[in-house]
Amino acid sequence: MNNKTKYDAIKIREDFPVLFQEVNGKPLVYLDNAATTQKPLSVIRKISEYYEKYNSNIHRGVHFLSQKATAEYENSREIVRRFINAKSTKEIIFLRGTTEGINLVANSFGKSNLKAGDEILISHMEHHSNIVPWQLLCEVTGAVLKVIPISDNGELDFDAYKNLLSERTKIVGIVHQSNTLGTENPVKAMAKLAHDAGAIIVVDGAQSIQHFAVDVQDLDCDFYAFSGHKLYGPTGTGVLFGKESLLSTMPPFQGGGDMIASVTFEKTIYNSLPYKFEAGTPNIEGVIALGAAIEYIEGIGLDNIYSYEKELYSYTAEKMSEYPEIKLIGSAPKKGGVFSFVIDNIHPHDIGTIFDLEGVAIRTGHLCTQPVMKRFNIPAVSRVSLGIYNTKEDIDRAAAVVKKVLEVFA
């Protein structure tokens, strides 16, 4: 599939067995993709195959199963490297998810490089996982957390960013695409400015990696974190990309097996990259299946996904605009397939339940972005978020539920 006109969502749907079921007596429509994505059969089968054919601990065995498992695990690392165009597999660290990736940077890079008075700059649209690790780091080091404001349409205030940057800035943390507002942030331009100021930039890629092509060398970001489970891969997997020049100077985050070259009670020598940051038995199954997920996505093509989801988002926005009661939260000119909304006097939780009763899965709540809620002075939102298998019919179903919601609370 190399060409937008050939994008066949119906055919893609068929690869996802979970979509073929009824919920509350209605055929399921899954529009909660920003929370987690469903998994194609190739991923599910890869997991069974792993456990039925070559499950084994890796890196330390000479027997056949262990060699096979090690080769598959390391093959996934190469798949990820290629997928984000990292220079070397040494720069690819497998973890549990985006959250752990950011915590690793905060703990390992942060604690060894920051001191009282240094500044960490994040945006007002960050997910809690790109806020709390920095708050914890500030508590320990005495560094100060500064926040780049956002405008009423949910765009980053780029001028404010420039003004906030200074020689005190040591780390810039930015979400590539907001999970609540859909806003796509100008990471490449931000990286340039951060580097000019002498800071490093940490990108939360949890909501971008599955929607458009990411090239870490082109972005020139220092760290890039994402989650496998939002990329049509298994839960419990995540990737932290880090520039080799930084990773190699950083102390380990966790200690244990596999991350050492040699241990004595007097002196322990750490292993080389990337193993230094992968202490203990990793999620072997998960990493191997994540490789299969990325191959699946590459088969469709991220550029195709990008245009298709854009088109579907336009359709969503159009359909939803038929209801004047709906207030869209987040309308940056550059945004992805996320439609968050509120309706006056109807609480998102009630909206979510009515969607559920109609078989349509959406997410409601603060979406782990409480500062965004506060910024827009709302307690919570309802969010429709798109994935590769969604269709216009799914959007029609969602729009029909809105009608029902308005009727119930008329």
């Binding site: 509350n24 109807i346 609480h347 998102p348 939780h349 009630d350 339940t353 009515i354 009763l357 409601t364 709540g365 603060h366 409480q370 809620m373 307690p379 919570a380 029902k404 009727e407 119930v408 609370f409």
Partner: protein, 151 residues
Amino acid sequence: MDNPLREIYQQVILDHNKSPQNFRVIENPTNYSEGFNPLCGDHIHIYMNIVDGKVEDISFQGNGCAISKSSASIMTTIIKGKSREDAEKYFQKFHDMVTGVETTPEEEESLGKLLVFQGVREFPARVKCASLAWHTMHSAIEGKETTISTE
């Protein structure tokens, strides 16, 4: 409206949601507590005046979904004028009902208008919404200062 929807969003609930009773602040209450549902951001304040073991006045403030708001509203109408012990008994009964503890027909009868929340027990994610006000009232009576959280 079809059936499962009607089961949870009964008219009484919708009415109380629109026009909640005792939705106000009591200045200098004898008892007070704050409740919190981190899942959905629901947040409630319960104010009470308990004099000689009797709930002379009770009110609430805060924002929440239709279930939590109507539950708070209906609760205040039931608890007002009751003894402290009766309030606690209602709390227990309500709790049992929404968490699906077996109830006898007599108990059901005694629940009165609270029965409209029976449908909630089919929606595990919403049980917390229905019980937030009750838990907060319970902690106000017990005089605990801590913020309570239903999670």
